[in-house]
């Protein structure tokens, strides 16, 4: 018979702890094991989905303190949610991990440089688009003023750990203007007006991939939608939720909810998988907030990924040709978190001339996982190598729908020394539409 378990005070003493309904759904069957990239890599039960859920439950039951044995597995999780795709009982492992990280974040005062720096960035930079823009300008100045050349020539980059050095090497040229500066408050629909949508510009997308944001608005307008870009919007908070800073995330969520719900739109469109799933989970994040819960749920129901939106609403197949062979990588927060697999492929397959060659295991995480590639290079590195090894020969571009994956795969391309491009799905679609104009 089962020995009575020693049960003490729950290790989760802060608000918003891991939800008992979520962890008690796990029956410990283990079907998730092989789906988990960290288990595949390490072969350790405590670094597997069911192991992590088991530890979270043990901590809630007071059998495990909020310490290394829990903290390390919980933070070494990629939050890629591949386990959720295969779980027969629908255990929401990602949400449990995020809730557990919230407890760690609340319990542990930031010690040491990296912790403080992370908190500073999360709390003092991301919530403020202006500050982010300032940093982007600084980055652009670094890239263009000759400072970068100087730093590289002086070998100063050798002071950085290898994974940061690689990231510096591949960082795309930062555009002169952010997408928020480029996009008009309202971009009118072309032709027959079919509706009105609001666009989330995000943070990384806004400063690093401004062109993709503009392309998204152009593609939407091309398909008959007015596109509004509310100026009061802020970062979605996904990075905060991943890091455990749930309170900052909630503040930002409330702000986005107020800003977007005050617009009269049919949908809130987003082109980053990570942001999209964070927005769709605002209802979950604010479930204990009596003032915002209902609004948050309404907001979440309106959120659509750009590929999802176009596939649902219908889109005009582009007539412009793009003669290229490409492959597609499923961002975890597309396939596992939102169930988006078919839609981006539908868009790509309608482009004349474009040949989509599937890569094996396209749903396996590339190792980006938010800022995981910065915090856990020892695991992110091998995952990236596996991803690059899966890229079929002869493709000219790797297409995906998430900025984190794009940056990570750019590192991968750099590492393998090929000249492949890394593109967002919308970039390709937009290029096909623009090719129409050129051919006519």
């Amino acid at each position: 018979m089962a020995a009575p378990e020693e049960r003490g005070r729950s290790a989760f003493q802060w608000p918003d702890p891991p939800d008992p309904d979520k962890y008690s759904a796990c029956v410990h069957c283990g079907l998730c094991l092989e789906a988990c990239p960290t288990y595949q890599e390490l072969g350790l039960e405590d670094q597997s989905p069911r192991g992590r859920v088991y530890l979270i439950r043990a901590a809630a039951e007071g059998r495990l303190p909020l310490d290394g044995a829990l903290v390390d597995p919980v933070f070494r999780c990629l939050d890629c949610r591949a386990c959720e795709t295969v779980c027969p009982s629908g255990v929401r492992v990602g949400a449990l991990i995020e809730e557990a990280r919230g407890q760690v974040f609340a319990a542990r005062p930031a010690r040491g440089g990296p912790g403080r720096l992370q908190r500073l960035i999360l709390r003092k930079i991301f919530p403020y688009p202006g500050r982010l823009r300032f940093l982007a300008r600084l980055g652009r100045w670094y890239q263009r003023s000759g400072l970068r050349r100087l730093v590289r020539a002086a070998g100063l980059l050798r002071l950085l750990p290898p994974h940061l050095r690689e990231m510096e090497a591949v960082l795309p040229d930062i555009p002169a203007r952010t997408s928020r500066e480029q996009l008009p408050p309202r971009w009118p629909a072309e032709g027959t007006r079919r509706g009105r949508v609001a666009l989330l510009t995000g943070c990384v997308m806004d400063v690093l991939f401004a062109g993709t944001n503009v392309a998204t608005a152009r593609v939407l307008a091309r398909n008959g939608f007015d596109v509004v870009t509310p100026s009061g919007q802020t970062c979605c908070g996904a990075l905060h939720v991943h890091a455990g800073d749930r309170e900052t995330a909630k503040t930002m969520a409330r702000r986005n909810i107020d800003v977007f719900l005050s617009e009269d739109v049919d949908a809130i469109v987003v082109n980053a998988a990570g942001c999209g799933s964070a927005l769709k989970e605002y209802g979950e994040l604010l479930r204990a907030d009596s003032l915002y819960r209902e609004k948050a749920e309404r907001f979440s129901r309106m959120v659509r990924d750009i590929s999802e939106f176009l596939a649902e609403a219908g889109f005009e197949p582009p007539k412009g040709r793009i003669d290229a062979r490409i492959t597609y990588h499923d961002a975890c927060h597309h396939c596992h978190a939102q169930g988006i697999r078919r839609q981006p492929r539908e868009l790509l397959r309608r482009i004349p001339g474009l040949e989509l060659i599937e890569m094996p295991d396209s749903e396996r995480c590339c190792g980006s996982a938010g800022i995981y590639n910065l915090t856990h290079p020892e695991l992110a590195g091998p995952l990236l190598d596996r991803k690059m090894a899966d890229v079929p020969e002869g493709v000219e571009a790797i297409v995906t729908g998430n900025p984190g994956c794009m940056l990570q795969i750019m590192v991968g391309v750099h590492r393998t020394g090929t000249s492949r491009k890394v593109l967002h799905t919308v970039d390709v679609l937009d290029a096909a539409y623009r090719a129409e104009v050129e051919t006519t």
Partner: protein, 483 residues
Amino acid sequence: MRRDASHRKMIEDLERILGPGRVLSDPLRLLAYECDGYTVQKGRPSAVVFPGSTEEVAAVVRYLHRHRIPFVPRGAGTGLSGGATALNGEVVISLVRMNRILHIDYENRYAIVEPGVVNRKLSERTASRGYYYAPDPSSQQACTIGGNVGENAGGPHCLKYGVTTHHVLALEWVLPDGEVALVGGPNGDDIGYDLRGLVIGSEGTLGIVTRIWVRLLKKPAGVRTVLALFDTVEDASRAVSEVISRGIVPGALEMMDRLAIRAVEAGAYPVGYPEDIEAVLLLELDGPEEGLEEQAREAVDVCRRRRVRDVRVASGEAERALWWNNRKTAFGAMGNLSPDYLVQDGVIPRSALPEVLARIAEISRDSGLRIANVFHAGDGNLHPLILFDSRNPGETERAVETGSRVLQVCADVGGSITGEHGVGLEKINEMAKIFSPRDLDYQMKIREVWNPEELCNPGKIFPRPARCIDRQPPLGRPASVPV
């Protein structure tokens, strides 16, 4: 204090044998190794070691044997009877890092694998050449072939193709004292005693297998999968009996009852079964294309005559895969209905199914615990899943007792207490339902040949005499069985 010191020494010694990073000993990190897929009984190992080769397994076992330290082999930990649980703080020897497919011989149709190879990986690896590994336990996406050997695992398609033992040609075997032996041979028949057969299904009590020669089968040229929905379990059971009695040999023949259907439909692969259906029958025919169509028609015809509500043949591979994924996740999907479950593994004569299910329903009402049923209908292997909530005081005990009553029903109708999940910890006390003390004694004598001190996976399969008498027999002496 002494124990702490000896424990520390053991960890140091094991680290010396295996090298750094291959021994887990922090008690908090060991928490995740408290149980396998059977969660009713738990025990935290004193250490988990991760050997990477036969030599390392043998070295670890030799060391543990020399110091009389008990140990438990473990694969993926998906077992359902507690076979890999270190109930009394044994050292767990994890084989997950021995996960290489060492050799594939397509000409002679066999492969050599390490024990940590995941079952499905072997089929995936050989698929492009048109081959596969036949035993397909429902956990095949995660379970290891080493674990399959330990449990002599079955699966839906074992109806036609046989269980693990029919597909293992030879084994490299580390004995409980650390000696290494090779049993069986890649060319089949063995001269002398079939030790290979003895090791398979011994649940880790006779040693640890470190290399496995397995048969590869050519994928059948044709497959027809028939799905039939019935309004009564009785009609479905009669359809099963009739299909078999007509001489049709399906590759697999599976049934789920209403509660099981509810669980899988809430799971990762919903098919869209009507909510009020009482039984789903999944029947698969495979083999050469010729004649398959006819057999499928005949099976459909049998179902129609048994008042089937809806019956159809899978339109293609995608639909077939969905139906199978739905069925194969049935156990794991119980979490949709209940925080805990206990699965039984009874075997009954097919014809007794309606009666057995009626009696199980009675037991369910009586115990106040819901019971879902998944049934390998073709070979009479019944999996009643008893749903309970361990957080409610006394409910775990009630579930165990309910399971025992269900197994008694199976034994009463001339069946058995386990078809494929093994005895492990879970069914130790049920062994007496089908074996006399004399029978058990003979079996334990076999264990004593190689594992006389019960260092290798102690306390599994057989009831311990120590439970019934005051004093434990001194180590090294043959255990006796209370009469």
